[in-house]
Point group: C2
Chain length 330, copies 2
């Protein structure tokens, strides 16, 4: 999950001088902010600093970050001024070569690996085809997802064409990330949960499966995070993923009973709990450890990325609580 | 589910002359827009036109609708300029008498009943204590729900005090609605789904149960809608509800297997499907009817309120498809 960000003064110091997209595209700086949480909060893995929307940009879509105020990244977010609204636009989309169009991410991975010097593993990531499609079709973060739903319901063939192009793009991108040094990959399906179950399977999970069958993994495990998709956990676990990442609304004990024998489980403290007290955070960590129970196969994590304005001390409390309290379980 | 609104030209004609809150508070007009969908789209029940936020207002909170533009109701929404952020504010909240403070809703129900003349039944509603608390504490619709989560995690006793006051307020309000003519009541827990399962049970469902045990029902059935809470369906069905209302991410066939023998099920077409074609809408209706299967206990509905800009013709297509295709199942 996202662990670099504005809650860290060290991150803010870098962002003062450079806009968000430039930070993503400057490998030395991206590597620097990737490593910050490892040093400062003591996490056991680094996840490359980037944004899922660099993929549609690599496919030729103009991407704009309203970067005027410090909070914009988290409030209004990025947008595509010319969203995908026609078959002709879908036909015109290329499947880009990540080695040229997304070289800055690959360079950032290489630099980060050197900087980490095998201290902790490095995770690469991509948005899922469905989640990328929602932004490309809506043009920005959405509430009702009118246009992308109109696409899947009224023009399912066009939707599948778009999603297939995205799946091939993401597969090549993740293969290149592994080649560049990513030791695990994570696919984020932030918006799978806005779909009915059969629509989720047809328009999202199917393309995650396609990616997982295409990526040259070289032994790197694949983590799949589908937010608000607890209803389809068994199918996610059966997608080719090594680890299913759970948001905080899933009961990790029940999840382990269902699928824990054939995939690892990642998660799943409510990130908003980091706004509370050290005592409450420790209690929350303890509750999740107890639910998962003894034995291996648990990657402790938040149920989503760290929220803006989270107190750094609370993030440290969280990480330390996991390290301390998990000993008796694993 | 909300079925009056701007997608209807007849609604827009009335809203041209009055702001949203005035419409809620003018019984003759509220009754008129309540009846509109019955006449225009042919639904089998009316749901009183109102807003869940009139309850916090009745408890003394200033409520502001930014009503400048036609779309504001649906985009930025209403807000409370002085949100609840302290124990003292919670202590100061009254449990208001609905007969004085929410008389306009009761009058609207009485007028609507007269106007409907028993053509179709009339449904009353309220937000759940948890959902009302999210708005009262955040001050407005939220993305991360920082403040209300800080309240439940850091000050759970204060949270329970607030939720108990809300439960007693809502119970009195729904009892008064039934007394004024509501023939069924619905509790909307729009934001139950942002909580982990045990937090949902402790801070939301528990207070819905409290309401259902307090409301003087006089034979009126109670419908409970907890959005994104499919994980807790069995507990919702066990809450005292007569009908569990499902959003579109729940498989209604599986839901019937789990709880269909002791509660009715309402739902659950994705409201965004009404942006698509008549053929697709009919196919979607057919799929849900087939999943539920033969027999009684199904209130066909959307999985949430009708979205802005939904074409009226598609809403009619939906209602007609349900009437036509359900005959062989019920």
């Amino acid at each position: 999950m996202r662990q670099a960000g504005r809650y860290l003064p060290e991150f803010r110091a870098i962002r003062e001088n450079v806009d968000f997209l430039t930070l993503c595209k400057t490998p030395d700086l991206a590597a620097e902010v990737t490593v910050q949480p490892v040093d400062i909060i003591g996490v056991d893995a680094a996840i490359i600093f980037s944004d899922i929307l660099v993929v549609p940009e690599a496919m030729g879509m103009q991407l704009v970050f309203d970067d005027g105020s410090a909070q914009k990244r988290f409030s209004n977010g990025p947008h595509f001024p010319s969203p995908i609204r026609s078959r002709a636009q879908i036909d015109a989309l290329p499947v880009p070569d990540p080695h040229s169009k997304l070289k800055f991410v690959l360079d950032a991975l290489r630099t980060t690996r050197k900087s980490l010097n095998n201290k902790v593993p490095l995770i690469g990531f991509s948005g899922s085809p469905w989640t990328l499609a929602t932004y490309m079709v809506e043009g920005r973060s959405s509430k009702n997802f009118r246009y992308v739903k109109e696409l899947i319901f009224s023009h399912p063939k066009d939707a599948h064409l778009l999603l297939d192009k995205l799946a091939r793009t993401v597969a090549a991108y993740l293969s290149a990330q592994i080649e560049a040094g990513a030791q695990a990959i994570q696919i984020f399906d932030t918006w799978g949960g806005i779909l009915a179950q059969e629509d989720f399977e047809e328009f999202s999970l199917r393309y995650i499966q396609q990616i997982l069958s295409l990526v040259k993994r070289n032994g790197s495990p694949a983590i799949v995070f589908c937010k608000d998709c607890g209803h389809s956990l068994e199918k996610i676990a059966d997608s080719g993923a090594d680890v299913a990442s759970l948001d905080w609304t899933v009961d990790i004990g029940k999840a382990r009973e269902m699928v824990g024998s054939y995939v690892g489980l990642q998660g799943n403290l409510d990130p908003a709990m980091l706004y509370s007290t050290p005592e409450r955070i420790e209690k929350g960590v303890q509750a999740i450890l107890k639910k998962f129970g003894k034995g291996n196969g648990h990657v402790f994590n938040l149920g989503h990325g760290i929220l803006p304005d989270t107190p750094v001390e609370n993030v440290k409390t969280f990480v330390n609580a996991v390290k301390k309290l998990s000993v008796q379980y694993h």
